[in-house]
Symmetry: C2
Subunit: 265 residues, 2 copies
């Protein structure tokens, strides 16, 4: 019986792999890698091939989505196969679908977890995990208006909850949505609806989580939209009600102005 | 100037560490470790000391909370210091407070992320990440009634959202709340309120995320409360509205009965 092991690459580069992940790669017959669901800016395929002594076969969105992962499933039918995935490996729905297909073909599956932007962005911000509501992905504004994300953010804020916003990426086109572009689009949607949910909102931008020097900055929308976060990947958090300890964290850790204390309780 | 590096241990055992984390431990002057905010059932301090060549100094809840992390901060003032933390290192509020104290003392801080139960439980379940609402911690029922968690679950369900429930642990007393105990307590709260939010709810239990053989099982509350998940740590997900692809995942991956399809849309 075949075996397919989903291995998380963690964040940023090839040192995000766990020791467990490294063992699985070394003992696999075939190792595939996809790098289109998230951006790992400092990742080197060559370096990881040298470290593990394995050839890494790149799979594309076409391989995994249009062709339903056939190339990976075929390998996994025959022998112990690893699929390397940025972050924690079963967050993108693509990989859940692949895992279901594998199981239906009688292929055993296993998961080796990696660090994910989900917990990394929350942790870097200093905000409290249990105060986050539903999360959203903000699409490229020239493809889809951010009407749904705006509604989710607005509903979360009404209940005092923070919103973690993943920003869309298209690595094959070398495009990553930035914090600035996302805020401009969200404010455009707000004006078109004549609402005021974002007007006095505090936001936190997180750039390059997993890097030794991530750029994390908190403040009012009007200040953060003008801030230069540097290269991608970017993540945005829209803050709901602030606990006083969270306000303290945003000031001490994320360079927010002292004035945000008045928004806390 | 001093330096304090928060390093995530990831899940389950000492192989959850990333290569980056390993480098940081090896190059640190002093390495502290806390193992009370989450349970790493197969972790061995001895094995990690041998692997890294470093002595790991255990810190307790008292050290980090009652004494405000003074022992760690004092070391970090003097030299490059690592604090090892289960999971991803800034999810527990204790560590956020410590990071703020460090920064106020002029100590540089850095984060090395690790795999977290946040993304691991979501990924293992096969449910879609963007359909989770606010998460909760379920306390030990003999200490605190689960009234607040019940309300959060109920509000999430009204909006069709899933709830990730962390189950309380007290490693110093060798106590971990189980999926069974949590469900019994939630049903007790439900009866006391004469509500019916859980009656026909689907839940997913996740035991030992990060282990090679985690136990993940989905079904109706009445079935899951009777299921034996084995040893801790346990995590519970209460499902909101099910997308048909999510129903498919719960059946194919988590052994849910075919009948749950009628709850999906």
């Amino acid at each position: 019986m075949g075996e397919l092991i989903f291995v998380g690459l963690g964040l940023n580069d090839d040192l995000g792999l766990s020791l467990h992940a490294l063992e699985e790669i070394k003992s696999a017959e075939q190792v595939f890698i996809e790098l289109y669901t998230s951006l790992l800016p400092e990742f080197s395929k060559d370096r990881l091939e040298k470290l593990t002594g394995k050839k890494l076969m790149m799979v594309t969105r076409k391989d995994l989505e249009d062709d339903d992962g056939e190339v990976v499933l075929k390998a996994a039918q025959a022998a112990r196969t690893v699929l390397l995935v940025p972050g924690d490996p079963l967050i993108a729905t693509t990989h859940i679908a692949l895992r279901i297909s594998a199981r239906k073909q009688g292929i055993t599956t296993q998961i080796v977890h990696g660090a994910s932007i989900l917990s990394a962005a929350v942790g870097l911000s200093g905000l409290h995990n249990y105060k986050f509501g539903k999360s959203v992905t903000i699409p490229f504004p020239d493809e889809t208006a951010a009407t749904t994300p705006y509604r989710v953010i607005s509903e979360n804020r009404k209940r005092g909850l923070h919103t973690l916003c993943f920003l869309d990426i298209r690595p094959e086109k070398n495009r990553c949505l930035t914090i600035k572009e996302s805020l401009i689009e969200l404010m455009r949607v707000e004006r078109s609806k004549s609402e005021k949910s974002l007007e006095d909102a505090i936001v936190v931008g997180v750039a390059r989580a997993g890097n030794n020097e991530p750029n994390v900055k908190a403040g009012l929308v009007k200040d953060i939209v003008a801030y230069d976060f540097g290269p991608p990947p970017h993540t945005l958090i829209v803050v709901g009600r602030l606990h006083f300890m969270e306000a303290e964290a945003l000031i001490a850790l994320d360079g927010a102005p002292e004035a945000i204390r008045r928004y806390s309780e």
